[in-house]
């Protein structure tokens, strides 16, 4: 049986689960003169969590309502009197070299980036999670085959796969999303498999089996809920990774279509202008991407600490 590296399982021989340690506790305990407080088990969620959540909510709201927001131009609108102009009263984020309003593209691009990020990750986690779950639960030849397929996919240059799919189907938002989702499957499957292995041999699972519960019931009622929690935390970081990956595809000409605003293609457009006095074209979408990614990560971190998901999963 092939033995792929399994960071999550093998390293996790000593279980570090079922603790709810808020951030800071560990280091407090370790710090030379700390520890007098003792762990506070039910601390409130930190402020950074709420700031991040509010920012994300705003981004999502903008993505949904972009078409009705008064300050957002249509994709077609351009201002021939302001080409590659810096931020001003008329154009808060400045304009592109075609005279398009950068703020409008950033707001509308949120829709693309979030769609790609959320749906690609959902896709990757659904199929990857299912594969990993089944492989980790049943073990045996089933596991062998799935693990081999996962390894083959990981050994295949992701770029080739992405370019091939996008050129074959033509670049559309759907195709780009599905492509990035497919690329996420093997990695997710591996994480899910590791997490499943960890739980599949636990007492409560074995107990359920002995009591005569069906495999289906055990998987979905006993194992899945435990696997979903760590996966959910990881998925938030995955959203970030996928959103950055979309910009890479845009750079290679395999991004979303030309008339679909996206942060990736806006950054590509602005890249050549960074040193031409029009850095804003690139920097505003970069900032939007960073803040979104950072917020997702903050929320992911907080949740991870809550549920103490841990090791080796990123």
């Amino acid at each position: 049986m092939p033995v792929p590296p399994q960071p999550d399982l093998t390293a996790d021989a000593a279980p570090v689960t079922e603790r709810e340690l808020p951030a800071g506790v560990v280091s407090d305990a370790l710090a030379p003169d700390a520890g007098s407080d003792g762990p506070v088990l039910r601390r409130r969620l930190p402020l950074s969590f709420w700031i991040s959540a509010v920012f994300l909510a705003l981004v999502i709201l903008a993505a949904i309502t972009a078409d009705w927001l008064p300050f957002v131009d249509n994709v077609e609108d351009y201002d021939p009197t302001a080409l590659a102009a810096g931020p001003s009263g008329d154009h808060l984020f400045g304009t592109t070299s075609n005279g398009n309003d950068v703020l409008s593209i950033v707001v509308q691009g949120a829709r693309t980036s979030l769609t790609v990020g959320l749906f690609a990750v959902a896709l990757g986690f659904f199929f990857g999670g299912l594969l990993g779950l089944v492989a980790g639960y049943f073990r045996g030849w089933f596991d062998t085959v799935i693990s081999a397929v996962i390894d083959i996919l990981l050994a295949f240059p992701a770029l080739v796969l992405a370019l091939a799919i996008v050129s074959f189907k033509g670049p559309s938002l759907t195709v780009v999303t599905i492509t990035l989702g497919i690329l996420a499957i093997p990695a997710v499957a591996r994480v899910a498999r590791a997490a499943t292995l960890q739980y599949a041999s636990r007492e409560f699972v074995l107990a359920a089996r002995t009591l005569g519960a069906s495999h289906k019931r055990v998987i979905f009622r006993e194992v899945l809920p435990n696997v979903v929690i760590p996966m959910a935390a990881v998925s938030l970081v995955a959203v970030a990774v996928v959103m950055v990956a979309e910009s890479g595809l845009a750079f290679l000409g395999a991004g979303v279509p030309a008339d679909t605003p996206s942060w990736g293609s806006l950054m590509k457009l602005g890249q050549g202008q960074l040193d031409k006095g029009a850095a804003h074209i690139c920097l505003f979408p970069a900032a939007a991407l960073f803040l979104t990614v950072y917020s997702l990560n903050t929320i992911g971190d907080t949740l991870r600490q809550r549920f103490d998901v841990g090791r080796g999963i990123l």
């Binding site: 994709v75 077609e76 609108d77 351009y78 021939p80 080409l83 592109t96 070299s97 075609n98 005279g99 398009n100 050129s167 033509g170 670049p171 750079f251 290679l252 000409g253 395999a254 991004g255 279509p257 030309a258 008339d259 293609s265 590509k268 457009l269 890249q271 050549g272 960074l274 040193d275 031409k276």
Partner: protein
């Protein structure tokens, strides 16, 4: 994106990097350029306009006279009479340009040194001129390693270069190429007519280049230095092809090595091929036995493809490279104002940027829809926004300088009301596509916005190049942003635009847009059969009007090419022809390198 620059085909060509176009350079800007002082540089602007403004200039020359190459060229420096003509036909200041040309002495060239030349793309098919597609990058490298049979003088006429003469018979059914004596290839073998025959025969057998040489019936050796090329139909402008890819004379030993020949080019040129690493560099060293006394000046030249435009610019500024070529208006404008660099520009005989329409299917099988699209295109705004206003609007496949070019050929000028009138409330929707690089994508975004104002519904799409060509070949498209190759003579793209090459949709056709027009076909066919310049001029002007009326494509601008160099690169574009006179610099972006030298005092 486009890693390698395969997109520059000999004739029909896809716009892939930033492509721009242009009219005459602003004289105020030109006057600051030191290289302009030599005079030859100015041929560019002057020539482009002379041909369109002066009916008599050179018009009486027969094919034989124009190509014997003994003093037929007239450097722009002495062209006192052309100046006023130019100025009269074009107010952009060509006269000032010609005047400027007469000043500024250059110091004597100092041999030695090494230059690194940045190229906009890689010539990834190798360097066998009979089997590889040469992009502009390939033409530049080709001119360093091979020699062309002919080179255009500064009036745009091809003059003998490697050949001593290229002469047609009276009815243009036979051309005689006579070589200069005593020239050897880099492998030591002599340049004789057998080599010419080997090259031309290889072209005639090549699926890549054969089509452009269709009228050629046979190639025969007359004596050691004389080759006879017989035509099956009269072809008066065979020589106009002999400064491009068809003209490079490769050593027979290289042609014979079908496996390694393409990666190890052997020619008679000023530089000897040393090494080539794909996507990285090509190095060539000085040919000590070069047949042109004193040339080249450089000990070594390195060509480096740098595909990312921003990186290419930075590489020049950082000193990684010494000079590069570009057609990106942003870069040209940026360096025009920079005293640390020199810029040579030209749009002579340049490629036309246009949107190719598929006239074999709806909606563009309807001429009124095509006309409406042309009326809906605000070309001036397009060129201001996309091209920094440094290019000239184009009105058809004929570029300034070429026979047949007309300032006013009747092509629709921007008029939204007319566009709406022609559409008559019809709901026309179509997809505009291109290769996915930023420059094209932004072009298309702007066009979509313009056209939708007139009531069209436009979808945008991008395809990588192989897919785009494939779709174009079989007619599976509605509108593509394309670039038509320029040429010294309108006949050079004959086979890309005639009805005989417009196949059914689904079958391969070289006339991608599948436009068929009997009048056009007849004119284009007559144009290649006669050698009378005045008659040809009339024929092509009529063809131009037909084209403008039928609007098979929508036109935007002529590509403007520039060489941007550090100040110590001397004689950037001044290149004297072997029989006197100067080479037309940067025709269709092509650049000579053997005259370059490094001036430590600059």
């Amino acid at each position: 994106m486009d890693t390698r620059n395969d997109n520059q085909m000999p004739v029909g060509e896809i716009v892939s990097q930033g492509r721009l176009v242009g009219a005459l350079p602003d004289p105020a800007i030109l006057s600051r350029r030191r290289f302009l002082g030599t005079g030859a540089a100015l041929g560019v602007g002057a020539v482009a306009l002379v041909a369109c403004g002066d009916d008599d200039d050179g018009g009486s020359a027969t094919g034989g006279e124009t190509t014997t190459g003994t003093g037929a060229s007239e450097p722009a420096t002495t062209g006192g009479d052309t100046g006023p003509t130019v100025a009269a036909t074009n107010p952009t200041g060509a006269a000032a340009v010609t005047t400027e040309a007469t000043v500024a002495p250059q110091p004597d060239p100092i041999p030695g040194g090494r230059l690194i030349y940045g190229l906009e793309g890689e010539n990834s098919q190798g360097f066998n001129p009979t089997t590889a597609r040469f992009g502009l990058a390939g033409i530049m490298i080709g001119r360093a390693i091979f020699d062309p049979l002919m080179l255009p003088d500064d009036t745009g006429k091809n003059q003998p270069f490697l050949a001593e003469s290229v002469v047609p018979n009276a009815d243009f059914t036979e051309w005689t190429i006579t070589l200069r004596p005593g020239i050897t290839f880099h492998d030591g073998s002599p340049l004789v007519s057998a080599a010419i025959k080997a090259n031309l025969d290889a072209h005639l057998a090549s699926f890549l280049t054969r089509q452009a040489l269709l009228p050629v019936a046979s190639v025969d050796i007359v004596d050691d230095l004389t080759t006879s090329v017989k035509m099956n139909t009269p072809w008066s402008v065979f020589d106009s092809l002999l400064s491009g890819q068809f003209s490079f004379v490769a050593a027979p030993s290289m042609l014979a090595d079908t496996e390694n020949g393409g990666a190890n080019p052997v020619g008679t040129g000023p530089f000897i091929f040393k090494e080539w690493q794909l996507d990285s560099h090509l190095i060539a060293t000085k040919n000590p036995n070069y047949w042109r006394e004193g040339l080249p000046y450089l000990e070594e030249i390195e060509f480096r493809p740098i595909i990312d435009i921003a990186t290419r610019t930075a590489a020049l500024r950082a000193g990684d490279i010494d000079l590069y070529h570009t057609n990106n208006p942003g870069e040209i404008v940026e360096f025009r104002d920079d005293d640390n660099f020199q810029v040579a520009e030209s749009d002579a005989y340049a490629e036309t940027n246009y949107v190719m329409l598929n006239t074999a299917k709806a909606p563009f099988d309807d001429v009124t829809v095509r006309q409406a699209l042309a009326y809906a295109s605000n070309v001036e705004e397009f060129n201001t926004i996309r091209n920094k206003g440094i290019v000239a609007a184009s009105n058809g496949p004929f570029s300034p300088g070429q026979l047949g070019f007309l300032e006013d050929n009747g092509y629709p000028q921007f008029d939204l009301d007319k566009a709406e009138e022609l559409l008559a409330g019809r709901d026309i929707s179509f997809t505009l596509a291109s290769v996915p690089d930023t420059f094209n994508v932004e072009n298309n975004n702007l066009l979509k916005a313009q056209w939708e104002r007139a009531g069209f519904s436009v979808e945008l799409a991008t395809f990588e190049q192989a897919a785009l060509i494939n779709n174009a070949l079989v007619g599976d498209f509605e509108a593509y942003y394309f670039r038509l190759y320029g040429g010294l003579d309108p006949d050079n793209y004959y086979h890309f635009l005639i009805g005989a090459n417009a196949g059914e949709i689904g079958a391969i056709a070289l006339n991608f847009g599948r436009w068929k027009n009997a009048e056009w076909d007849d004119l284009m066919t007559r144009g290649r059969a006669t050698g009378d310049r005045a008659e040809r001029k009339e024929i092509y002007e009529e063809a131009n009007r037909v084209h403008a009326r039928e609007v098979p494509n929508v036109y935007f601008f002529y590509t403007r090419w520039a060489i941007i160099a550090k100040n110590d690169v001397a004689d950037l574009v001044k290149y004297e022809l072997p029989d006197g006179g100067f080479n037309l610099p940067l025709e269709i972006g092509r650049h000579q390198v053997s005259q370059l030298w490094v001036n430590p005092d600059a």
